[in-house]
Subunit: 233 residues, 2 copies
């Protein structure tokens, strides 16, 4: 047991710092509507529904903070959350979100554009992080995969040996703070990759298939359909 049965503060850092380039849209994807409400509100609600005592911080591109506050007011969205201005990329945004967080908490870093994270996934992540110091949700790869070699050729890879990684990625806060302070990522990576580089073993837990990352316009269609199904069942 990593934490000797202490009651820990649990902080959720929702990263929604994107500025919408991939969606080919003026409005970043976290503000697009699903069932009439911005994606980001659904994401915040998932964590609030899991446990209203979670401390939720949302990192938003500073150009959109006012827009977000107006959206909250317009939608009468009253779930308590702190808003802070993001940095120039995801790494900088998480780093800013970690400022002021003390060692000895559990920090869940979650993509703002993953509104379909299940209560079970959130539960498994916090539980395993409490036991092991970190937890990262994953799903199996359903399809064949091939590896691109340096010479441009490609060969079959064994999909059973790989997992697709989701969020929330939960860490004992000092693991994450140390990783973000000591490592400058050479390439885009996720939080698990950074913490791993700082020498820590990563613990995988089961995610949920629906927990998709909304990055392309058709993902919004998919997310809306999954939400409707969820609410009608």
């Amino acid at each position: 047991m990593f934490f000797n049965n202490k009651v820990l503060d649990r902080i959720v850092l929702i990263v929604a710092g994107g500025s919408g380039i991939r969606m080919k849209s003026l409005v970043p994807k976290q503000f697009h509507l699903i069932m009439g409400q911005p994606v980001l509100m659904h994401t915040i609600r998932a964590f609030h529904d899991f446990d209203p005592s979670l401390k939720i911080t949302v990192v938003i591109h500073d150009q959109f903070i006012r827009h977000w506050k107006e959206l909250c007011s317009y939608n009468e969205f009253f779930i308590p959350h702190q808003v802070i201005a993001g940095g120039k990329n995801r790494f900088e945004s998480v780093k800013k979100g970690l400022q002021g967080i003390k060692p000895g908490c559990l920090v869940a870093v979650h993509d703002g554009v993953r509104p379909l994270v299940s209560q079970d996934t959130i539960g498994r992540c916090f539980e395993t992080a409490f036991e092991c110091g970190n937890a990262v949700p994953c799903i199996e790869i359903k399809e064949s995969i091939r590896k691109i070699e340096k010479d441009g050729s490609n060969m079959q890879a064994e999909r059973r040996n790989f997992r697709i990684i989701q969020t929330p990625q939960v860490f004992e806060s000092s693991l994450l703070i140390n990783a973000y302070e000591s490592i400058v990522p050479e390439e885009i990576t996720d939080d698990a990759g950074l913490v791993e580089k700082s020498g820590c073993r990563i613990y995988l837990v089961k995610g949920n298939e629906e927990n998709i990352k909304i990055t392309h316009p058709h993902d919004l269609i998919i997310a809306e359909a999954l939400f409707r199904q969820h609410h009608s069942s």
Copy 2:
């Protein structure tokens, strides 16, 4: 140029031999309805729409052949296609589908449960197979991936070096026939994996994101939403 500008016969082998275990349903997924019609009809239509001169063969579990013929009659589904009885697994089904196919054609092997293959994807596959002898559609991996090691630990893998493989996988027919005759797969693999084992270089082309494989109940919801979007745009 692999084929010296000859006009080739083009055969589509749609594999729909599954018996529904993964869908937790008595009816295999290829017979579930999307927009009121069985998945498999949408799949067949995608190829027929691409080119009505394609020769379409559908491999179906023998327990469901009668059911399929009744569905075709009930739905007034008149796109010409040959139906043959599948084997006990995908490998055996494709092998049976290849019987009677001559060398020197192009054979596209496609999953019956991928109704959302785009016209562009089909076109790219046939074109590149005509030029290079084979073509396999793929998409990039959007999310982080991790590799599971033999000792149970896991480590970050470089997602940029991997592709998710779709169908149709198109081959000059003798490549595929030889691979299926000479190789007994030790584990589940796709046609590209088999042909590669027989010593052939595989050529990747761009697939389409929507070209999902319907394996779980929520994939049906996603597919229906994508179809509706496609038909309304």
